[in-house]
């Protein structure tokens, strides 16, 4: 456990997360309008989404399937009977005056998420529930000095609200939770996890307590839209609460905002007043009944998820937990690795993928999907090392060229003449001239200064521009020096 040091001793942070994840679907949850990101304002709005008189919701079957798929991926209880409720409140971007959500009977019940912590350890966080609900529209406050502009393109888009238990104790754990959840959702193809575009938003519940004491009063920080902000907001909010309590104050349960310019949380004025959402079952909809066979059919199509993949990578490829984690965090990375590793030394493959490739991608700000070096080509490079066409050192040079040009390793090696010299005669000649030019050093070596061996190797490599096969150089050099 890691505690925060306060004036009066140690404090423990208690964190729970509510993540809103936008369901990947063509059409909205209850209307046939499109869901694509970035469209012209109000161009993807039906009369249902704008809550015109007499409009009625009809549910999108794919969104139900996505919720079930996600529930299965979280090893959660799938509720075969669930109910849609209305959550009533007035807001400019909530056209109906209520959000259709699920309150008492959500589609998915208890599940879990295993966090992979930076030190290689794991920790399980409980998932309380997952429910389906409608997104609201968007209020734009800075288009006009005295007005707010409303765009309803998002209104009615399907969201999964995934609620965790208050099981996390540090900002790092919260960060790991969001990362892991995002990874699972992406594996499942149920949410793209794009936090900048708002496809994933976090409401963070934070409270503090003395270790072992009952839960303190919590504050909810709404709509935090990056993992970094989630962690920063928790750190700030915990310290704020500790300070208040240590100064003899008490925490008001309230909704707060993370101010991304001042790096502070602040009270949300618009949500100030106490809410009474008056939930009740939506009479425009009927209870949702799922066929257990249908759920089983979805289960049978689930991909291998990060935890299972990680275990397999450790078992099958003998990777370290750390490397396995890095590789499985995104399905595209794991797939890339497996393509490279196929029929090759898996450790070598892992080293090249997590080392050179990720390093270059990172520097270039590119995703693995955009890598100029394909998995096949990286495999080709490794093959050239394995069959002694090039040395490991030359391979790094070749990789750099591959990353720049996207060309195949063999082509670059040919073009640049980097093929390793394995011609014994040529190496011998090279060694002879090095030994001749350094007769004094040869004498020193022979009188017992073994360490000079490395010097001779270096000179030979220099003379061959690094292309001489190191093993052959060793072998011939040893023979010649002895003689």
């Amino acid at each position: 456990m890691s505690y925060i040091q306060g004036e009066t001793g140690d404090w423990e942070i208690v964190i729970g997360l509510e993540v809103h994840a936008q369901v990947i679907s063509n059409a909205k949850l209850f209307s046939g309008a499109a869901t694509a990101f970035g469209a012209e304002p109000n161009s993807q709005v039906s009369f249902v989404d704008a809550a015109f008189p007499g409009m009625l919701p009809v549910i999108n079957e794919h969104c139900i399937e996505q919720a079930v798929r996600t529930g299965l991926g979280l090893k959660a209880q799938i509720n075969l009977h669930s109910v849609f409720d209305r959550k009533n409140y007035f807001y400019a971007d909530l056209p109906q005056g209520y959000q259709i959500s699920q309150f008492q009977q959500p589609i998915v019940g208890k599940g879990e998420i295993v966090l992979d912590l930076p030190d290689g350890s794991s920790r399980t966080v409980g998932v309380t529930r997952l429910h389906l609900e409608q997104d609201a529209g968007k209020s734009l406050h800075d288009q006009h000095p005295a007005k707010t502009y409303i765009d309803l393109n998002r209104s009615g888009v399907a969201l999964m609200e995934i609620v965790s238990e208050p099981d996390m104790r540090t900002a790092e754990e919260a960060g790991a939770y969001v990362r892991k959840l995002r990874s699972i959702l992406r594996y499942l193809g149920t949410c793209d996890g794009n936090m900048e575009e708002g496809s994933m938003r976090c409401d963070v519940n934070v409270s503090v307590r003395k270790p072992g004491a009952p839960f303190g009063t919590r504050c909810e920080i709404k709509n935090v839209n990056s993992i970094r902000f989630v962690m920063q907001a928790i750190e700030y909010e915990a310290r704020r609460q500790i300070e208040i309590i240590e100064e003899g104050g008490k925490i008001d349960q309230e909704t707060r905002l993370w101010d991304t310019t001042k790096f502070v949380t602040r009270s949300m004025r618009s949500k100030e007043e106490a809410h009474d959402y008056r939930y009740f079952p939506d009479p425009d909809l009927l209870p949702l009944e799922l066929d257990p066979e249908w759920v089983e059919a979805i289960k049978s199509t689930l991909p291998e998820l990060p935890d299972d993949k990680k275990a397999r990578f450790i078992g099958e490829y003998k990777l370290s937990p750390y490397d396995a984690n890095v590789l499985v965090s995104e399905k595209a990375r794991a797939d890339f690795f497996e393509t490279v590793a196929k029929g090759r030394d898996p450790k070598l493959a892992a080293n090249w993928v997590t080392g050179e490739l990720f390093g270059y991608l990172n520097k270039a700000g590119k995703e693995i999907e955009e890598s100029p070096v394909s998995a096949e080509n990286l495999g080709g490079l490794i093959d050239l090392i394995a069959d002694n066409t090039i040395s490991g050192r030359i391979a790094k040079e070749v990789f750099e060229a591959m990353f720049e040009t996207g060309e195949k390793a063999a082509d670059i090696v040919e073009k640049k003449g980097l093929r390793q010299v394995t011609d014994t005669g040529a190496i011998e000649a090279s060694i002879d001239s090095v030994l001749a030019a350094n007769a004094d050093k040869v004498a020193e070596f022979r009188s017992g200064k073994d360490k000079l061996f490395g010097f001779f190797v270096g000179q030979v490599m220099k003379a061959t521009q690094g292309k001489a096969n190191p093993a052959l150089v060793n072998e011939i050099l040893t023979a010649k020096l002895k003689g």
């Binding site: 704008a50 009625l56 009809v58 109906q96 425009d284 909809l285």
Partner: protein, 493 residues
């Protein structure tokens, strides 16, 4: 040709088929009739040009041999149905200026079958009322009101909420009208104005494009002058609609074909709990008369029990306002209708909704808000939903013993404006006989059965099993024929 406005739909279809007159002639007569009955304030929006254009198109279709089941029949539309390009008000100030860009499924079905729209008729604001006195566009006067036109000696209510529909049909300004029924809003005004009104089983008519009052209860239905016409019009209005999740995917029967007149051996349930304390003698008498007619026709009356009848109104006055409070949240001055500006968004909401909703709507929204609010949900709303289940169970039991249920439609004949008006509970009691079937989602119809001592119409109500509108209609027609009511409103177009 004023005689044209006194035809039944069935007769008008015959006349059109035989080329006795054209749809344009029939429509012209009705357009004039609509003007004539203006003193009743039945119409909020008249659409004569549209009517004539539709009639012309109808004649063209008929000429091509493409006549639909309601080809050329001029009807009125309750102003709760959204009609494309035509103002739709729900009789509320808050929908000022609202012109839908879409057409409700029910009206689309009617136009598909050839019907002609005369205009949009008045109602209680958001269909909340039983007297058509809560409309922002003024109350509707029943054509049964005694005295001089426009200078009535007693201004009678047409019932509500489909009061404009009832008045227009009774006064012969439309061959039929659409109504909607949440707790009796088709049946009670039909009874008050001496016409036929049927609310089909919940799920028969699509609610898509109908301004919502209480979603779990709202159902559209026809209001006509005969049972046969109701059968014709109901068939066109019904049908599965994938846009309404509560719409039922079931074939629509040819309701007219069910009108065989043969009810021999049919068991007619007479619920003892409907003999409420203080029931006026003439209501009890007409009910007994109805039982006798059916018996004569070979049916067998059986006493049944619906023990939770007395709780239906209280249940209704929790469930309906609760749903309404949420359904009406969308009227916020932001996207359509009235906006009353304010310094902040909250002020704008409160000003708009404060000015836009009338007293009765406001009252129901507040009750609905209260019964759903934290700490009261279980005691009120959830309790009401449980009692609703028991009411439904009562009917399930009853229909094991009978095929159809006969009751009075309303506890009195039409009353005058000003009576019963200060006390909301008194007003709510109008729905005492109609509400239980609404809560149970059952088909219910009111049929004219006679007149009271005041010369005003009395109706009898028939309730059927879910999706058994056919039996309801068949038995209804037997009563209609036996009663052979000849009285007509003193004021007709």
């Amino acid at each position: 040709m004023t005689g044209l406005t006194h035809l039944t739909m069935a007769a008008a279809l015959d006349g059109l088929a035989k080329k006795d007159f054209t749809a344009v002639e029939l429509t012209e007569a009705h357009v004039k009739a609509v003007e004539t009955i203006r003193p009743l304030n039945a119409f909020i929006t008249e659409t004569p040009e549209q009517a004539l254009a539709m009639a012309k198109a109808s004649d063209a279709r008929r000429a091509k041999g493409e006549a639909g089941p309601m080809e050329g029949l001029p009807i009125a539309v309750k102003d709760l149905f959204c009609t494309k390009g035509v103002p739709t008000t729900a009789a509320s100030h808050i929908l000022d200026g609202f012109k839908p860009e879409y057409e409700s499924t029910v009206t689309s079905n009617l136009w598909r079958d050839g019907a002609v729209m005369l205009g949009k008729v008045n109602l209680d604001e958001f269909a909340m009322g039983s007297a058509n006195i809560t409309s922002y566009h003024g109350n509707v006067v029943s054509p049964w009101s005694p005295g001089e036109v426009g200078n009535w000696s007693r201004q009678l209510v047409p019932g509500g909420s489909s009061g404009g529909s009832a008045a227009a049909v009774a006064a012969r300004a439309a061959l039929g009208a659409t109504g909607t029924d949440t707790g009796g809003s088709i049946r009670q005004p039909a009874a008050f104005t001496g016409i036929v009104g049927i609310k089909p089983t919940y799920g028969r008519c699509s609610r898509w494009g109908v301004v919502a009052f209480a979603s779990s209860l709202d159902q559209a239905g026809p209001m006509t002058r005969t049972v046969e016409d109701a059968a014709i019009m109901l068939r066109s209005m019904c049908g599965f609609d994938p846009k309404d999740s509560t719409s039922v995917d079931m074939a629509v029967p040819d309701f007219r074909a069910a009108l065989t007149g043969d009810i021999r051996g049919l068991k007619v349930g007479i619920p003892k709990e409907y003999r409420v304390e203080g029931m006026p003698a003439e209501i009890a008498a007409i009910w007994d008369q109805g039982i006798a007619w059916l018996k004569e026709a070979g049916a067998e009356p059986v006493e049944i029990s619906l023990p939770h009848t007395k709780y239906a109104l209280a249940t209704y006055y929790i469930v309906a306002p609760a749903e309404a409070s949420s359904n009406l949240a969308r009227y916020d001055g932001l996207r359509y209708g009235l906006r009353v500006e304010g310094a902040s968004l909250k002020d704008m909401y409160e000003n708009t909704r404060g000015a836009g909703f009338g007293k009765e709507v406001r009252r129901r929204i507040l009750i609905g808000t209260y019964v759903l609010s934290a700490g009261y949900y279980d005691a009120y709303y959830n309790k009401a939903r449980q009692v609703r289940t028991r009411i439904k169970w009562d009917f399930d039991e009853a229909f094991k013993q009978c095929d159809v249920i006969l009751t009075p439609t309303a506890p009195s004949t039409a009353f005058a404006i000003g009576e019963k008006m200060d006390d909301p509970i008194q007003m709510y009691l109008n729905d005492v006989f109609t509400v239980p079937a609404s809560l149970a989602g059952l088909p219910g119809m009111s049929v004219p059965a006679g007149v009271g001592s005041d010369g005003l119409p009395l109706g009898l109500q028939l309730l059927g099993r879910p999706f058994d509108e056919e039996t309801v209609l068949r038995v209804g027609q037997v009563i209609e024929k036996a009663a052979a009511v000849t009285a007509t409103p003193p004021f007709m177009a």
